[in-house]
């Protein structure tokens, strides 16, 4: 993942040297038991239970306290956590999980299949975002004995889709603490979670910190190594970098520092700055077109806009070493689904852009061909830099762009509900399988107001059929081929463009060991993390 890309900000030296550090591939020195690991916690969430909310903001805390059925190993393959083994019936409608034995909740009660059944039917299926879609056709979870959970679906569920999704969407909550205790959403446990994980919840001082201590009864032998984890709430990114340099914080996850701080700390031997450990959290920057604007419904105009942007220049000068040219909705890190042929790529060509606009009938009378409103999402420094770049680049081909600022709720409302935009720009998060959160950006028939879905007023029966077929195709080879077709169609019709691919960046103290050793390490349980002196 970009390990040899040269850093190009002005004062750059290659930071690749810092990215491939000996500690990462070191044959293990004996792990040191003990120590307090402090984590930068930039955005407080409304609750901490990952069975109810699927986002990295929750996993960074909840993922250490509660555990999923399945996680990803160092090679990105599913590995059992609370589940030991699994098998699927040939028709794909029944998937059986054999659960791990001898696991207890933090309050001492045993973990059983009843917990899995309860969580799946009441939380994953009814409340969990992305879980409701994933488990749409789940009809029941049978529990023939305390260690077996049988998932029964009314339509075939591809096993590898389920296994890829469960690390994020498969966290288990204790039935005995949630059942018959009133509304699940209002259960106070959501802010003081009880799980089976390596760390037990201790305290949450809102606005300041969260503390979790080692779980002495954790089911893995000799784990965890750390005594305690402390999450410090720091909303200002410059202040967070300052605290890291002052030694108050060990780890800042998910690109929570500014781009220039990432570059700067990357050259500091006290820190490791890399994308390793985040391959499961790839995202692409998007440019979304509103077809309700007549000009944008013409594919030539959309292609012209794509050709007018010098993406490699932008990446090199503004985003630094951790971004690369995107090729389509499926990012290159997805080894299972990345197609060999991605279809048209729209290289930078100002002349071609002008020609396409002329052809479409938008001549540059007095300098301006058309005026567009661009709404960038407010949650990323790269997004606002990209918006400025789009504004300037399109200005050079005669398209006047006005950038409209919104806060988070306002942005979602304006773009995905009221459709009050011409262009929008944000992130598309890829969640290990296109069916989870990628195809909804293209499939027609999305309800009005559903964010990060096809709200462009664009319908394409061809791509709808490809998406539907792939969602229920059980054979992995055929599925991959179908998604290849999906990508080529998406890139040629261009309802949205995904020209930049990024992986979250981790900044961590060089004293940490056994970090970044899974593709979703920031969200994983850290049972083997330790701090050297």
């Amino acid at each position: 993942m970009n390990l040899t890309r040269r850093a190009v900000l002005m004062t750059s030296a290659a930071i690749a040297a810092n990215v491939v550090r000996p500690e990462l591939s070191f044959a293990q020195a004996a792990p040191r038991k003990g120590g307090v690991f402090t984590v930068h916690f930039p955005a407080e969430q409304r609750q901490l239970n990952p069975s109810l909310q699927a986002s990295t903001g929750v996993y960074i805390v909840g993922g250490k306290i509660q555990e999923p059925l399945v996680d990803l190993d160092a090679n990105g393959q599913p590995v059992g956590v609370l589940a030991e083994s699994w098998e699927a019936a040939p028709d794909g409608k029944t998937i059986t999980f054999k659960l791990r034995q001898g696991v207890t909740w933090h309050d001492g009660k045993p973990f059983t299949s009843a917990d899995v059944a309860f969580t799946a039917m009441n939380m994953w299926k009814k409340i969990l975002n992305y879980g409701t879609t994933l488990q749409l056709f789940l009809t029941a979870v049978d529990t023939p004995d305390a260690n077996t959970a049988v998932f029964r679906y009314e339509r075939p569920m591809p096993l590898n889709l389920l296994l890829r999704a469960l690390p994020d969407l498969g966290y288990v909550s204790p039935k005995h603490l949630y059942e018959d205790k009133g509304d699940i959403r209002q259960n106070p446990l959501n802010l003081a979670p009880v799980g089976t994980g390596p760390f037990k919840f201790v305290q949450y001082e809102r606005g300041q910190y969260i503390i979790a201590d080692r779980n002495p009864n954790y089911w893995r032998p000799n784990a965890p190594y750390l005594d305690r984890i402390v999450w410090r709430v720091v909303t200002d990114r410059s202040a967070a970098a300052a605290q890291m340099e002052a030694g108050q914080i060990h780890y800042s996850p998910f690109s929570a520092l500014t781009i220039s701080d990432l570059a700067r700390l990357g050259k500091d031997p006290r820190f490791v700055v890399s994308t390793k450990g985040n391959e499961g959290n790839a995202r692409t920057n998007t440019i979304e077109f509103n077809f309700r604007r007549k000009e944008l419904s013409d594919v030539r105009v959309r292609r012209a806009i794509a050709h007018a942007l010098n993406i490699p220049f932008f990446i090199e000068n503004f985003l630094g070493a951790f971004a690369k040219r995107g090729t389509g909705p499926i990012p290159s890190v997805s080894t299972d689904f990345y197609p060999s042929d991605n279809g048209p790529q729209y290289p930078y060509d100002k002349a071609l852009a002008a020609k396409l606009l002329d052809e479409a009938g938008y001549k540059a009378a007095g300098g301006t061909r058309l005026s567009l409103r661009l709404l960038p999402a407010p949650w990323g420094e790269d997004i606002s830099l990209f918006a400025t770049f789009i504004q300037q680049s399109l200005g050079e081909v005669g398209i006047k762009v006005d950038v409209v600022r919104n806060d988070a709720g306002g942005f979602l409302k304006q773009v995905y509900d009221e459709h009050a935009f011409d262009l929008a720009s944000g992130w598309h998060q890829y969640r290990n399988d296109p069916a989870v959160s990628t195809t909804v950006w293209y499939r027609s028939g999305q309800p009005k107001g559903a964010p990060w879905t096809n709200q462009w007023d664009w319908t394409d029966p061809v791509i709808d059929k490809i998406i539907d077929d792939a969602a229920t195709e059980v054979d992995p080879g055929k599925r991959k081929a179908l998604y290849g077709e999906f990508v080529r169609r998406a890139n040629s019709e261009l309802p949205i463009w995904t020209p930049i691919e990024q992986i979250f960046v981790t900044v961590i103290s060089a004293k940490a060991r056994n970090h970044s050793n899974t593709p979703r390490w920031g969200s994983s349980s850290w049972h083997d993390l330790w701090l050297a002196e």
């Binding site: 410059s238 200005g395 409209v404």
Partner: protein, 276 residues
């Protein structure tokens, strides 16, 4: 006039005027010195000041010329400050005049409203207004004006309370002048001097309020305001601190100039109260 001479005898007041004229000069010459759109890409990002002859003040994180943004920004900061101040003063004067002149239940209601605006922390109200009405330069300016009117209102009311029973007003009443004529024709011109002086304070505050909004990324991103530049520079603060520092200094100079001019006016118009 006597007041003018008094003004120029005070060194701080003269300094303030010089600073203000400097900023005005920047605003006036911006179009001529930096004819290109100040928000257009000019060079590589994050060039330090004095390193490249083309960019005396360096470039920001989007590769835009900082000097161009400072000069053009002078226009916007002064404009925003001025318009917001005018809005605040007009609203404040109208409300204060009515409250002070009519007294009774009119005064009561208007003062309740004024008190409501003053009790609410003005930055909070600003946040709400911007969240509701959006972040364009128009809405931000109007919002700042709306948040700033209570103090001019109180000042106007106090002036009117003391002036309304003076002889010239009673004379006007005897002559049969209508209320509006009395308020705007007779009393207001006499009440204006302290209000105008206070307007300088409001202007200084308005400029800083816009910068604060831009700092938390809630201002209009399509204009080259100084506040936007400070907000941009926040992301590179630790090393390329000049991106935030330079517009900060510009704001400092402007607010300083405005304050000194206001103070000078105050001293010149009220020699008895001048602390010398």
């Amino acid at each position: 006039m006597e007041a003018l001479r008094r003004y120029f005898r005070s060194p701080p007041a003269v300094l303030g005027l010089i600073l203000l004229l400097a900023v005005l000069a920047m605003a006036a010459s911006a179009g001529w010195l930096y004819p290109r759109d100040p928000l257009s890409l000019a060079g590589r990002p994050l060039i330090w000041p004095l390193q490249d002859a083309r960019f005396l003040l360096g470039t920001d994180n989007s590769g835009r010329d900082i000097a161009a943004q400072i000069f053009h920004g002078a226009r916007f900061s002064l404009l925003i400050g001025l318009v917001a101040t005018v809005i605040a003063v007009i609203i404040g004067v109208v409300i204060g005049a009515c409250a002070g002149y009519y007294g009774g239940w009119v005064d009561n209601i208007l003062m309740r409203i004024t008190e409501a605006f003053q009790t609410l922390p003005n930055f909070l109200l600003l946040l709400v207004l911007v969240a509701v009405f959006g972040s364009t330069i128009t809405t931000v300016t109007v919002a700042i004006g709306i948040v700033s009117w209570p103090a001019p209102a109180r000042l106007t009311r106090a002036e009117f309370l003391s002036l309304r029973n003076r002889e010239f007003v009673q004379a006007g009443r005897v002559l049969g002048l209508r209320d509006a004529a009395l308020i705007f024709g007779e009393i207001l011109p006499n009440a204006l001097p302290p209000i105008i002086v206070y307007a300088s304070v409001v202007m200084g505050v308005s400029i800083v309020l816009e910068a604060a909004l831009a700092f938390i990324k809630l201002s209009d991103p399509n204009i080259a305001s100084w506040g936007n530049l400070i907000g941009l520079g926040r992301d590179v603060l630790r090393v390329q601190w000049y991106v935030s520092a330079i517009p900060g200094v510009a704001i400092l100079i402007t607010v300083l100039g405005v304050s000194l001019v206001g103070q000078g006016l105050n001293d010149a118009l009220n020699p008895r109260l001048k602390a010398r």
